[in-house]
């Protein structure tokens, strides 16, 4: 038990160190720190293909982190900061893209595919149910039996 506690304590010191490496800024309060973290994780580094700016070591990401910190200090709200970035780098920098005519497919494409799939399944199931013979009819009628016999005879002749 003691050893286990020690391991947990050691783990905690490690996470502390990791955070210290990211946060080189002095925030006025915890709310601001939380917003900084949220914004840097929501904005994509323009230079790197798939890293947020909190995560990236690219010089441009460092610059953008500094800009976000500066704007937070100026009391700008999240939307203003995101707009500032989108003005310069386009919708690319947003991991949560705004709903515009060009992003409609992005937002609703998966939903449309899901609905389309459900419709197809519905049609198939519905059709199968309709053509399914009525309950208790898994025995052949006399007429059907006769037809089966002729068919089987035919194959026998071949």
């Amino acid at each position: 038990m003691k050893r286990w506690l020690a391991a947990v304590a050691f783990g905690l010191t490690l996470t502390g160190a990791a955070h210290a490496a990211i946060d080189t800024y002095e925030f006025a309060n915890d709310a601001e720190r939380a917003r900084f973290r949220e914004l840097t994780q929501e904005l994509r580094c323009p230079k790197c293909q798939n890293q947020d700016i909190a995560d990236s070591n690219a010089p441009i990401a460092t610059d953008l982190r500094r800009e976000i910190f500066r704007m937070l200090g100026e009391g700008k709200d999240n939307q203003q900061i995101i707009d500032f970035m989108v003005d310069r780098y386009g919708d690319f920098v947003r991991y949560k893209p705004a709903l515009t005519s060009t992003t409609l497919v992005l937002w609703f494409g998966p939903l449309a595919l899901l609905v389309g799939g459900l419709v197809v399944i519905g049609v198939i199931v519905g059709r199968r149910r309709r053509t399914e013979p009525v309950a208790g009819s898994d025995t052949l009628s006399a007429e059907e039996r006769q037809r089966l016999d002729t068919l089987l005879d035919k194959t026998k002749d071949d």
């Binding site: 293909q49 010089p59 610059d63 003005d87 310069r88 780098y89 386009g90 690319f92």
Partner: protein
């Protein structure tokens, strides 16, 4: 079952295939610039030589290339002789020295010719940020009113100039003539 329904999977497949085939030839590192059609951002920065202060008003008057470069940028070195050649042909080029060490930039311009009619020293990267620069070299095409009309990311070589930029630049020059 209706016959035409059997074609649906084929049509869907062809649509997807066409879409993905096009995607094969798109460059994901190329971002569409948000600056097209907007005026060159306001700035007030020293020149690389340090002898004067430059503002966005200095860029107006003639259509020009605004080239964002730095000595730490390896491909800028590749691009430099091409720009020098273009400048010799009479193409107006302004330089933005982006996040660079001033002494290095001066040395570079002395050693490898200076194709730039104006050298803007953007040491802090503030102009670069307002331009939406994400990596040098980047080149903006501005018209005589200082409106950004086109952006090219990457090295301008002879072929890029001939096939992509020369025509656009010439169009701006023609447009500027009354």
């Amino acid at each position: 079952m209706r016959r035409w329904l059997m074609l649906v999977p084929l049509v869907v497949f062809l649509g997807m295939a066409g879409f993905l085939y096009k995607g094969l030839y798109l460059d994901p590192t190329e971002l569409p610039s948000t600056m097209i059609g907007k005026p060159f951002p306001a700035f007030s920065l020293p020149s690389v030589e340090g002898d004067k202060t430059l503002t966005e008003a200095d860029l107006k008057g003639k259509p020009a290339l605004v080239n964002v470069w730095a000595t730490w940028c390896v491909s800028c070195k590749v691009e430099h002789p091409v720009l020098t050649k273009l400048a010799a042909q009479g193409v107006v080029i302004y330089g933005v020295n982006y996040k660079d060490i001033n002494a290095d930039a001066k040395k570079w311009l002395q050693e490898f010719h200076n194709p730039y009619q104006l050298d803007i020293n953007d040491e802090a990267g503030s102009l670069g940020l307002n331009l939406g620069v994400y990596g040098a070299p980047e080149t903006f095409l501005i018209d005589s009113q200082g409106i950004i009309r086109h952006k090219f990311v990457g090295v301008i070589d002879e072929r890029v100039w001939r096939e992509q930029l020369a025509g656009k630049y010439q169009a701006l020059v023609d447009e500027a003539k009354p």
